[in-house]
Symmetry: C2
């Protein structure tokens, strides 16, 4: 019935793949490395996934799905206050990047490696997630919490958040929530 294979086994394998993709990058991760991490031989891997591309697509779908779910849950809890919603979105973004870990990072940094068909198939998820952001940003702009062009502001905020992957050390003194709060504080026109 389902076009998409969602068995728990495949989920587990996808999780392991995400880990390697973040560590090494998609291009440098070989099917042999993936298989070893999964405790099987490289030939067996192709019983679960058609090819390497399909693994990437699975990871990225998982990452965007996660990001969407967590973000939606987070802003539900504070539906009225624009400032709380903005902070919640930033926190949710960093939560899926660092707490849940890996899949969302792959979605952000390896999207270009998707073949055109997979990219087209998954773009609605990315669009839905960005729409969530633009909505929250619009509310914040209307409440005069922040200033600027809705499009640019969301790009800048997401850029600042995404780039944390390159420098932030979760084992350091600051929590992801600290980062999110500090970013929001920085741009607020209080």
């Amino acid at each position: 019935m389902n076009v998409i294979n969602t068995s728990v086994r495949r989920k587990e394998l996808t999780r392991l793949a995400a880990q390697l993709f973040v560590q090494e990058g998609f291009d440098r991760t070989t099917v042999r490395m993936l298989a070893q991490e999964m405790g099987i031989k490289s030939g067996s891997l192709f019983h679960h996934f058609k090819d390497k591309q399909e693994i990437l697509a699975a990871v990225i779908e998982e990452g965007m799905q996660n990001a969407l779910t967590i973000a939606r849950q987070s802003i539900e809890h504070c539906s009225s206050d624009p400032e709380a919603r903005l902070r919640a979105m930033a926190r949710a973004h960093l939560e899926t990047l660092f707490t849940d870990r890996n899949a969302h990072v792959v979605a952000l940094f390896e999207w270009r490696r998707l073949d055109p068909v997979a990219s087209a198939h998954l773009s609605h998820l990315r669009d839905a997630y960005e729409a969530l952001w633009v909505q929250v940003i619009d509310d914040a702009l209307e409440a005069q919490l922040i200033r600027g062009d809705r499009f640019l502001v969301s790009r800048f905020i997401l850029g600042a958040l995404n780039w944390t992957v390159r420098w932030y050390d979760p084992s350091g003194p600051r929590t992801p929530d600290d980062l999110a709060d500090e970013l929001v504080a920085m741009i607020m026109a209080h």
Copy 2:
């Protein structure tokens, strides 16, 4: 005498390599592609560079050198005013990313692909560039132009700027300078 080969021929080849590295990514750029772009056969390439790694190091050194030079020139022109200096740094950053193009982008996005020796050898350039930023940010903080932790603020600003590579279209209506100005406006506590 010189440890580093700085012939104009090598500079030209480095420029072409940078272009391909941005388009395809370092891992997916083959020496055959590089050679073809340079109008020679792949075997001849190794007369100019010891190996593929050395090409990457050359590109990244060029990119950081460019960024440093342009940034220093830009803030010299406005040595007194903290706001002008901040704006100048942001403009310079986007100028080396989009106007000069390629080499600085490679430095930012492919740094991880450097082998440890090359990375250690080039890190002083990256550190010098970041120090320039922290200095400008410190001045802006002291003048109460912006608020926050000096370390985090510079990371967030650089993240927002770096991520533009992923979405900004230079052939669109906005100039890189527009972007820089809008980012500065967004974070200013006027």
